[in-house]
Symmetry: C2
Subunit: 389 residues, 2 copies
């Protein structure tokens, strides 16, 4: 079984958003973005790969379902890793000619809209790099699968530099600080019930690039300054500065969606209530204690320090009553200072209908992808997928 | 009763939005705006005023309720009209020193969020101008009551020129075309059920001016071009061009709200469904047939030509089922080409829950304020308000 390689890779949540490509095929972004990598003990993609001379074709299974290998993005990743291996002469040409099998799954629902493709491609590229013994940076290859996947190649806080090269040789991810830099940072992911038909982020970006005047302004004049400022805030562990930039950048991304033509909105009434709640809570605290950020969907991702987790969860349970006995999953937390009636009064938002938030994932900043040595592969010794539905 | 003056004035709906003041007191805007004036036969504010030597103080009743006259905006309007009358020597000084009574009402619910203050101040200023025999333009005085009120001083399509003078002498409204220019134009106002706590437009503008980078960009680089383009579209009666600019400008205004800090959103899930519906309908028609625009609330205002009214109302009834037997009020309309199943299939939006739209007002472009000669005043011969609740 030594020829089966299995990797796990993390989800990342951007605080400076990636929105808009300058090259659709090479997935080159218009602007730098910056994210936190989340702990793979809570959420991960897991991928097993193997190459054998007797495989007739490349095959892939995703979340228990056979999928076509004819995706351009998937093929680009495989070709690029093989090219790199050939250039580095890390494996022999016979091995490079063998067909491969890939089996991948996430431990969180894909439908939750939690950037599963970023974790998935980071994991695939990590496993392939190990298979073909590629040692150099593979974030630019993960980028070919899904832009933001390049940021899941590193732990801690990670910047994706847009670069200027037309071929994208300078468009890769770099680590700003590792996961040990700001150990108190916690993340709550609020999975919001949603029935809306959504514009895919690929389609949404195209529409914004073609039609939004505000996106041009954002890319040229706003993001560069914000990247510098948030890196300083991270270095200095200045939470309120970090939080303010994070919220403003999320808001501006959603403003750009609205300024696109036709416009689209990923935020629902529930998302907007969460936004109001966080601003009201911060105001009641007299200090910015919590930040929200939203990607291409209604789910909120809240950043806060460990000391706030208990009171914020109490607040969420109060304002968004739930019938789910496992409303909060993930890391355990210690009940600390309870929610005060003063804060609740100052917030002045009425409890909402039941189950508008389906569940909450409690997690923290974590490390980049890793190769599993426990032998718990997703392919059996014959190279066949395990756990097929 | 000759000394009681009664005016009616119209609502106006902006197609290029006013958002942001450069002077809070003088209500001077950051950018030009442009609106259509709606028919006073359907929606109006009505105001009676009189001045008598025996009145002890200035008094005002709004929608059947006594209100304080101590509003700066109200006092500014009265003082400015009196100054103009004194400068023009249109009445004698005795008359100018008499206290006044004002009684005003709207024939549509204020709570519907339909720019009632614009119609109200346009009406007040028109009645006062008649009372004090002021003949020159009073739109700059209406502006002191509520910025967009200046646009309700004229009929048809009206531009509010921002001007550059610090005292605002060049910040007034001018008529682009009168109500007869584009007689086929129709307006549907969709009153959306709403329970959200709202940021007032005065507060919202302040937050946007202080915090939104995108607003600066909009004011400097986008609005001037759009004003020129939409005036051309109106002159040429080019509906699809008019509609596209109208929708884009509404979207950009709401994008600016989202880009403000803290952000606020006037649009609800229902508003967003209406936006999707109009874009889908236009796409299904292969031509831009309907435009939406939204002010500081969730209600949609749809512009279309008369020939579209029947099918659009049918579509609204299908997608937004209503238990209201008087779902559509206002102008009557003739059932024409029915809604085709092809269009419904192409639209691909499921019927929504019942009563998300409370009712629809069907109206058209109309004239500016007028003085009533029918003697149906809101003050009786003693100068006391009639119909006090």
């Amino acid at each position: 079984m030594a020829d089966i390689i299995t990797a796990v890779a993390p989800v990342n949540i951007a605080v400076i958003k990636y929105w808009g490509k300058r090259d659709e095929e090479l997935i080159l972004p218009l602007n730098d973005s910056l994210s936190a990598t989340l702990d793979t003990n809570i959420m991960y993609a897991k991928t097993s790969v193997c190459a054998r001379p007797d495989f007739a074709t490349d095959e892939i299974w995703l979340n228990g379902k056979k999928e076509s290998f004819e995706s351009e993005r998937l093929k680009n990743c495989l070709i690029s890793i093989k090219k790199k291996a050939a250039a580095e002469k890390s494996v022999n040409n016979d091995f490079l000619s063998w067909k491969i099998r890939v089996c991948s799954e996430n431990n969180f629902p894909t439908a939750a809209g939690l950037a599963s493709s970023a974790a998935g491609y980071a994991c695939l590229v990590t496993a392939l790099a190990k298979l073909y013994k590629v040692n150099s940076d593979v974030s630019a290859i993960a980028r070919l699968g899904s832009g933001s996947a390049c940021r899941s190649i590193y732990g801690g806080f990670v910047q994706w530099c847009a670069g200027v090269d037309p071929q994208g040789v300078d468009s890769f991810a770099t680590q700003i600080v590792d996961s040990s830099h700001w150990p108190e940072m916690r993340v709550l992911i609020l999975v919001v019930a949603d029935h809306k038909k959504k514009t895919s982020s690929t389609d949404g970006m195209k529409i914004s690039v073609q039609t939004s005047e505000l996106l041009k302004h954002r890319v040229q004049h706003i993001v560069p300054k914000r990247i510098d400022e948030i890196i300083d805030a991270i270095y200095d562990k200045n939470f309120s500065k970090f939080a303010e930039i994070t919220m403003k950048d999320s808001n501006q991304f959603h403003a750009v969606c609205m300024d696109s033509y036709p416009p689209f909105s990923y935020l629902t009434d529930v998302s907007h209530t969460i936004i109001q709640l966080i601003h009201s809570y911060n105001k009641a605290c007299g200090e910015v204690k919590v930040a929200y950020t939203f990607d291409a969907g209604p789910n909120a991702c809240l950043y806060m320090l460990q000391s706030e987790v208990f009171v914020v969860i109490s607040l969420l349970k109060h304002i968004f009553p739930s019938s789910n006995p496992e409303f909060v999953t993930g890391l355990t937390f210690i009940p600390e200072v309870p929610l005060s009636t003063e804060i609740l009064q100052a917030i002045d938002i009425e409890p909402q209908a039941t189950d508008l938030i389906k569940y909450v994932i409690h997690t923290k900043i974590g490390d980049g992808p890793s190769i599993l040595s426990d032998g718990l592969h997703l392919l059996n010794e014959k190279g066949e997928p395990i756990n097929i539905h």
